[in-house]
């Protein structure tokens, strides 16, 4: 059970949070213009990386805010949290993925 840093409430146990999967998968602005394949990409396809991962969490038992966490899925090391709309670099120096929405 991790300690997750809520950008508002500080360090709290994982059981207070709800996991929301990979972050920065923006809902397409105009879904009707996408091919079925592109829509399937949005709906289902995930990077699911072994290593650094930007992911969404919601502090569901606390302040109910959604925010993002940078976590290494291999080691479970957590590098930090940031609010929706932000995009700090990952510890390995990589910035935002191309086309990713903050």
């Amino acid at each position: 059970m991790f300690v997750i840093h809520c950008p508002w409430c500080g360090d709290r146990p994982e059981t207070e949070f709800h996991y929301g999967g990979e972050a920065h998968i923006a809902r397409p602005e105009k879904p009707e213009e996408l091919t079925d394949q592109q829509w399937a990409d949005f709906l289902f396809m995930r990077t699911n990386p072994k290593g650094w991962h930007r992911e969404r969490w919601s502090h569901s038992s606390g302040c109910r805010r959604w925010f993002n966490v940078m976590r290494n899925t291999h080691t479970n090391e957590i590098a930090g949290s940031y609010r929706i709309g932000e995009m700090p670099d990952l510890p390995d120096g990589s910035g935002p993925a191309k086309g990713a929405k903050a």
Binding site: M1, V3, A26, K30, D36, W39, R56, S60, N76
Partner: protein
């Protein structure tokens, strides 16, 4: 004679009080401070159990939690506990224990026959046989194997004891309270840090409790007492004896189990948890868990009376008992001399030391010399004699390379053999933390190398062997840990320990014997619990099981209840030798929690029985209960299912309730519906995106039904939402989805559309909801609602009014889930009970009838209304339910829309909602979940068209009705199909899914 092996004096036992206990039905005595193991030794009981596979007689081998073979079944009946280690059971008055895995008795065990077959029963033999003929495995072989396997017995009764949890934070948590742990705790506590110090034993002190060493010039026990006194002075120090640190999880989350009352025996208070699982989030962890001595692997090294050298000393020094009359030590290291000679000096004679090394250390020889104990260097015990006890050892000289033997056999009579193959630091917790190990070839053990979490390892656990160094490094670790946790104070002087060097060691993984290992009748046990011999390991290696993980699984070495604490290193060293690899390359198996077994009860804690999960009750619950309602579990809620009257069956009650609603008036507790208050200038736009239908033009005071889909187009929830003001809505959700819908709304607002100005607030629990339904509902309500005009014109269907009902502020929604004229009243939950009763009172004259969820289901099914989760299962889009009317064609986008046009979702022959009527017997109710086929019969796989989602007897219509999802169902209306059940098929006709009042006139009136 009672306690004939008890030494005349000494030991940390309380001789002033005698404790009585039984083992295998025999009465014995012991003292407070004894473990069951020491008390058994005190009474000369050495045969304790039988081994797992060969049922060989076994005794106690250690004095601690690493014990592989001295396992017993404690107590009987509801209090019984299997597989406990005698070495960890604190003696209490009235204790009773028995041997396990022996039948009819430990003295005469039929299973010992396996021993004769042991030549066949080698590692993995069961993979090679018992394969045929077909069916024999289940019927013949497996039952026999199962009966032979297993150790103790599970209790047959529910547990009378309770268990709980405690969640705490610590600056420094210290695992193990030997001299190192205590020194670390002192240093950390002196800074003011919050310190938790835990030790699995009943007393703090670890090896100092028996080693006779001094600290700071004080006898060990005096130093411990002083240190504990000081620790108790610090407010923020928690001292936890009888507490095993069993798991080291991510982010320095430490799990421990405290045995709070086991040692009190039958006297224990029932209101206090027996075990408490501690969950500690620690800023820093200091691991001071000591080390385990390891056995020598030699011929028939498992007989009762053969034990670890250090254990011999523990029994004489700490418990003042002799494990036997005459002992021999077999070792490969100097330190064991010290243990054995201490024991000898303590009153348990040591006749000889057999040292596999040609040249024992000078210090060791001096110790032996001073105690006048004979040393046989360059010698090996090739085998032992005896059955239920060792009665002698056979010794031969080793060849100069140490691998072979030469010369004649010398028999040394003895009833106790001490063995020591060196020490294995207890790095279990460190490994669980994710830390990586390195191999130390001098000490022949694995030691911490790379740290992943914020911890330190000190003392014996760190491979530090000189006491003075242990104390110094521990004190430093305690201090630095506290400093890293934010506590600044100057370090004080570390306690000063003795500087005796424990001397050297020469690895000897298998002692040479008269037959090559594995090729003769002698067994060289490595894993004493699972009966894994050196021969088994060598066989596994020959068959290609070269990975240490394969070796473990093929032979089961290290998989017993001791998890190989004493055996793993020997096993992997033997493997390394067999495959010509280096020990560090072979590596260890994975260390996993728990360190020692933990009761399920303590992990479950208080989350059992009536506290296992919240039972959510509505404000009217007591009333329902008072009326004898039967309840349905819906998520965590309890909802009235139906209200049987005296003598009524469920069907009769439901019929009565249904008819009451259709003909007069009924009331339903609908409090569990989710309610979300939605406010903001963009609220209507938000609903437009969330629901499939249009919301912007909904008038104030008007209600509308909506469907929500997930992005994949599948229906997720439904409910009525009402516009309270230009920028203000109140949404209802299904009972089961209330929390999910709120989360879903927040998720979209916060992550996708932060530009929308909308606030959502859950008011599910703020309001009690009472649904009044039936032609008389207006009249009933009128009696309570004073000045609210309930006329159809003033208060039309699908609208809402605020006012006062029966003295409570209320919102009244004219909506209907039954198809009848109906009002849903929301009052602050405080008033729920009173208003409910007022409605009952007001309705009396009209025959008002409370109805439950079953009746609600029948009534809505008559109307063809769906229930999310019943007509839907995550694979259903609105169009499948014939609800195209609620899917906006105008809106450019809403959640789920894009998915409707995918090839499979756009198919015209998807499963569609239809009604079904039974053809032959109109009263027959189809089972919900019945599948629908074209033909009445067929050979599997029979093509299935769909299934019955809802099915009831409709008292209103006088026949049964059903809803079903049927492939291409809309175009099958009028067709006859079948519902094949186990023994017969029921003929059904496909009809429209609305059975009653298709025009909706009743609700509208």
């Amino acid at each position: 004679m009672s306690q004939s092996f008890r030494l005349a004096d000494g030991g940390r036992i309380d001789r002033s009080r005698v404790l009585h206990f039984t083992f295998n039905g025999q009465n014995y005595e012991g003292y407070p401070g004894d473990t069951l193991a020491s008390a058994l030794f005190a009474n000369g009981v050495r045969l304790v159990g039988r081994s797992f596979k060969y049922h060989r007689p076994r005794g106690i081998m250690t004095a601690g939690s690493e014990e592989p073979s001295g396992l017993v079944q404690l107590e009987t009946g509801a209090h019984t506990e299997p597989n406990l280690r005698a070495t960890q059971i604190e003696l209490y008055d009235g204790l009773s224990a028995t041997s396990i895995n022996a039948w009819p008795s430990v003295d005469f065990d039929i299973g010992e026959i396996n021993s004769l077959l042991s030549r066949i029963f080698v590692a993995g033999f069961y993979y090679k046989t018992f394969m045929g003929p077909a069916g024999f495995w289940n019927k013949i072989y497996e039952p026999i194997i199962r009966r032979a396997a297993g150790l103790g017995r599970a209790p047959e009764y529910p547990d009378p004891d309770i268990y709980d949890h405690q969640y705490v934070h610590a600056d420094v948590l210290i695992a193990g309270a030997g001299p190192a742990g205590i020194a670390a705790a002192l240093a950390a506590a002196r800074t003011g840090a919050r310190v938790v110090l835990a030790d699995e034993q009943s007393e703090f002190g670890g090896s100092l409790l028996h080693s006779g060493e001094s600290v700071d010039g004080l006898p060990g026990s005096d130093w411990i007492a002083g240190a504990l006194d000081e620790l108790r002075q610090h407010e923020d120090v928690t001292l936890l004896p009888r507490t095993t640190v069993f798991g080291y999880y991510d982010n320095n989350y430490i799990a421990m189990v405290e045995r709070r009352t086991d040692h009190l025996g039958p006297l224990r208070p029932k209101t206090v948890s027996r075990h408490r699982a501690w969950h500690v989030r620690a800023k820093r962890v200091v691991i001071a868990t000591g080390a385990h001595e390891r056995p020598m692997v030699f011929g028939d090294n498992d007989r009762p009376g053969i034990l670890l050298a250090e254990a011999g000393r523990v029994y004489t020094s700490r418990y003042a008992v002799k494990p036997g009359e005459r002992a021999v030590l077999f070792t490969n290291n100097d330190n064991a001399y010290r243990s054995a000679i201490d024991m000898h000096l303590g009153g348990m004679p040591l006749d000889a030391i057999v040292d596999i090394r040609a040249r024992p250390g000078a210090q060791a020889l001096a110790w032996a010399d001073s105690a006048d104990v004979e040393v046989l260097p360059g010698s090996s015990i090739i085998g032992t004699a005896g059955r239920k006890s060792v009665i002698g050892v056979d010794v031969m000289a080793t060849t100069p390379d140490g691998i072979g033997i030469s010369g004649g056999v010398r028999r040394i009579d003895c009833d106790t053999v001490l063995m020591s193959g060196g020490w294995t630091p207890a790095i279990h917790l460190f490994s669980q933390s994710g830390g990586k190990l390195r191999y130390d070839s001098e000490q022949t053990c694995f030691l911490p190398e790379t740290f992943v979490q914020a911890c330190r390892v000190v003392g014996s656990a760190n491979g530090t062997r000189v006491s003075a160094d242990c104390l110094a490094e521990a004190a430093e670790a305690g201090h630095i840990s506290a400093r890293e946790a934010g506590f600044r104070a100057r370090a004080r002087k570390a306690p000063k320990g003795e500087t005796v060097d424990p001397g050297g060691l020469q690895p000897a993984w298998v002692a040479p014997s008269d037959h090559p290992t594995g090729k003769g009748p002698r067994k060289h046990f490595v894993d004493f619990q699972n009966d894994v011999t050196a021969g088994d390991l060598m066989l596994a290696a020959r068959e290609g099981f070269h990975s240490v993980e394969h070796l473990k699984r093929y032979t089961t070495t290290g998989m017993g209840t001791d998890q190989g604490k004493t055996s793993n290193i020997n096993a992997l060293a033997i493997l390394a030798r067999e495959v010509n690899n280096e020990i560090p390359k072979v590596g260890t198996t994975t260390f996993r929690p728990p360190y020692t077994p933990v009761s399920y009860g303590s992990l479950a804690g208080r989350n059992v029985g009536h506290l296992s999960d919240p039972v959510r009750k509505t404000p009217m619950h007591d009333w329902h209960e008072g009326q004898g309602a039967a309840f349905e579990i819906v998520g965590q809620w309890l909802r009235p299912w139906y209200y049987p009257q005296a003598g009524e069956t469920m069907q009769q009650a439901v019929n009565r309730e249904c008819l009451a609603v259709r003909n007069a008036v009924g009331l339903l507790d609908a409090t569990t519906l989710g309610k979300i208050d939605i406010q903001g200038p963009d609220a209507a736009e938000f609903l437009n995106r969330i629901y499939t239908n249009a919301w912007k033009k909904l008038g104030i005071g008007r209600c509308r039904y909506g469907l929500m889909c997930h992005e994949d187009g599948m229906i997720f929830d439904d409910g009525v939402t009402t516009r309270l003001g230009e920028n203000h809505f109140i949404m209802t959700t299904t009972s089961g989805n209330a929390a999910q819908v709120l989360d879903w709304l927040e998720e979209y607002l916060q992550t996708e559309w932060p530009d929308l100005k909308v606030y959502c607030t859950s008011v599910t629990e703020q309001f009690a909801t009472i649904s009044i339904a039936g032609p008389k509902s207006r009249e009933v309500l009128q009696k309570l609602s004073g000045d609210i005009d309930l006329s159809a014109e003033a208060f039309p269907f699908m609208s809402m009014q605020a006012g006062e009902i029966a003295g409570a502020p209320a919102r009244i929604f004219r909506i209907s889930f039954t198809g009848e004229l109906s009002y849903e009243i929301n009052v602050p939950a405080f008033y729920g009970r009173a208003v409910w009763q007022a409605v009952m009172q007001a309705g009396k004259a009209f025959g008002i009838t409370p109805y439950g969820t079953e009746t609600m289901h029948v009534l809505r099914a008559e109307k063809g209304f769906i229930i999310v989760g019943q007509e839907t299962d995550g694979t259903v889009v609105p169009q499948d339910l014939g609800m195209d009317w609620i899917v906006s064609k105008q809106k450019p986008d809403f959640i789920g829309k894009r998915s409707f046009s995918r090839p499979d979702t756009a198919r015209s022959d998807r499963k569609q909602l239809v009604g079904l009527l039974t053809v032959a017997d109109g009263n027959e109710v189809l089972p919900e979940g019945a599948q629908i086929t074209e033909a009445a019969k067929g050979v599997p796989p029979v093509p299935m068209l769909g299934h019955v989602t809802s099915s009831y007897y409709s008292p209103t219509l006088g026949h049964s009705i059903a809803l079903a999802l049927i492939k291409d169902g809309r175009s099958r209306i009028g067709e006859e199909l079948h519902a094949p059940l186990e023994s017969r098929a029921i003929r059904v006709r496909v009809v429209e899914p609305v059975f009653f009042d298709p025009k909706g006139e009743r609700a509208n009136g």
